[in-house]
Amino acid sequence: MEEENKTRLEKQILLKNIALQVRMRKLILPLLAIVLLFFNVFSPPVASTVLGSILVLFSFSLFFFAALYVKKTPSLSLSAIRQILVNIIFLELLAAWAGFYFFSFVVNSWLIPIAFPASLLSIFYLVLISPLLEDLYRTFFYLISWLGLTFLILLNHSSFVESVSARKFNTDIISSSSLVSIVLAGIAIFGVRIIISSTQDQSHWQSGGLRKVNQKLQNKLEEKDESIFQLRRELRETREILQIRTLARGKELKNLTKNFQKMLSKQKDNLQAEDERRNKIQEAQETTKALLNVLEDNEKDREKLMQEEELTTTIINNFVDGLIIFDPQGIIQEVNKQAQHVFHIQENDVQKQPLAILQKYSLIAPAVKIMIHDNHVQLVKEKEFSPQPAMTMTVSIIALQGKERRLGYLAVFHDVSREKNIQKMKTDFVSIAAHQLRTPLSAIKWSIKMILDGEAGKISAKQKDWLNKTYQSNERMIALVNDLLNVSRIEEGKFLYDVQEIDLRSVIQNVLHNDEEIIKRKKMTVSFQGENKEIPKVKVDVEKIQLAIQNLVTNAIDYTPAGGKVVITLDQKGRDVLVKVKDTGIGISKEDQKKLFHRFFRARNAIQVRANGTGLGLFITKNIVQAHRGKIWFESELGKGTTFYLTIPSSQS
């Protein structure tokens, strides 16, 4: 409905335009004629100039606008274009001609010859195109009007030239000539009309008999003519209407097509847009998904981090040892519960404070002296201090090294009071056990030995044999007690107490002294190389390191046949002090070498040589050496001998 209304409205506008065009054409010509006449008669030269200019401009602009109109309205039919063109050209020529004419008044007389042929040309042209213009009658009327006007102008012109050349301006002449011109024009028009009508009455001049018939026929013909004319007119009108309708319809169709095309392209665009939109939505969905994944991952990471942090905090707080964490500048970051409890510290009182503030707390003050030296944090390991009597703690400072930078330090406070106590108890036990067990054993040993040696009088061979067996059993018992004491010393090897800075030479000398008797008995050559060499001192638990070296030397003597050779060498190896014990003994098989440091392990050939060994000596030795951050290893060949190496870091390192 709307479309229809629109089309109808457009049609109406179009019709109105055309009607206006026709009316304008009919109006403009007489109007112009009057204006021209008026100016011709009364105008002063200035007005003529202005009008002339306007008309010239009008003539060109008219053509321009007409051309523009035709170009912008592709729906115009050829005949319509022709009509418009004719009208335009007509108006244009008229305007051009009039313009030139008015110019000629003020500018130069030589323009007049241009204006004159132009007017003639326009007339000629009008004649040429007249068949195109409506009916002949009208054309003719135009032509006559035109001729009349030209004539009038020419007349005026001559009188004007005349007045100019005579240097006088006779308005009377002009007005009178103008008046004459108008009259003449009127006569001309009238004459033309008479000529036309006389042409129509041509039949008057034909024979009388036939005149009536002729008249009748004429009348009939006239009637027919009239009706034909009428019909033609109607037909023309119909054609015009049809043309208009076709035009309108065409335009409508064109519009429709245009709209349809528009719609199509719009649809197409829409489809494309839809596709793009879908793609974008998909992309957006994927992005959202990816983002969600990232977010989820982030969330997971965060949770993980939080969990880890919680775990770390929990571990730190529930750690059995006291922990104090401080940054590289020595500012306290965290004090765990155990440290707070042991040292009677409130975390809030010391947090974000320099480490030295701990000196205010008497329990931890001795440790602070170990931790800080010359205002610098010291990296220490298990340094003992005593917060109060009967309490021993160790402090270790560990550098917390991150991937790129130092995060700070961790101070670990470990209570070793219990270990110390146990250690003391153990030492006491060993001492008591040794004393209590060995006393009767030594009494038995000495008594039997004396009897066997005949100190209590002569004994029979049988008595001697029995006593010998008893003596051997007692010897085994003594070995067993030694084993027992060694077992209780195993754990001792892992802890170092009473560390002193000493020269290992004295230790080796003591060891050799202990074995003096057996060396003599077995007629062995035992030498100590490096006894006079200057060797760096070592920081060791003397009792333990002596036990370790004693084990090696005693083993070398025990497992080397009588008359064999043992060489003990003390030397420096880099920053370490090296003790080498070389023998020409039974050696250790490849198979047994792997298990040599194992607890209770004894090499097969060693059992054969000495039945009452314990398999603990090397195990204890290894523990002791490792507790001193030293190393122990050996080289051995079955039947040829063994060399044991033992290193202890020197006090300088």
């Binding site: 060995r438 000495w446 030995k449 003591n510």
Partner: protein, 128 residues
């Protein structure tokens, strides 16, 4: 001149066995179980060597060594320490306090101890 040896121990068996064995080697042996009295005996009997049992009750053996070391007359008299404990710390302490030598009772028999005594006298003779 006969060497005079003091055996200071609370174990009767040890002192008897040592007395028997050392007498065989032509030493004059005096026995004591009291460190306080022993200090007097050493001067009175002009003792040349002391065999000291570290296993005297109440660690009196060490106080005996301390006292002996602080006395300029007694200082030079050699001491052979015999012990059952055999703790290295104990032995080194005894050495610091002037013990000339030591033996672990379970590792030695009286004959070997007599040999040790002989060695000590030999080394003293060599140095003097």
């Amino acid at each position: 001149m006969v060497k005079r040896i003091l055996v200071l121990t609370e174990e009767k068996l040890v002192s008897n066995l040592l007395k028997k064995r050392l007498s065989d080697e032509d030493y004059q042996v005096v026995i004591s179980d009291d460190p306080e009295k022993a200090l007097v005996i050493i001067i009175r009997e002009k003792i040349n060597l002391i065999v000291l049992d570290l296993d005297l009750s109440d660690l009196t053996a060490f106080s005996f060594l301390v006292k002996k070391k602080s006395d300029s007359d007694l200082k030079k008299i050699p001491v052979l320490v015999i012990s059952n404990a055999g703790q290295i710390g104990e032995l080194s302490q005894a050495q610091e306090l002037g013990a000339t030598d030591w033996v672990l009772k379970t590792e030695f028999d009286p004959g070997e101890i007599a040999q040790k005594v002989k060695n000590i006298f030999k080394s003293i003779k060599a140095t003097s």
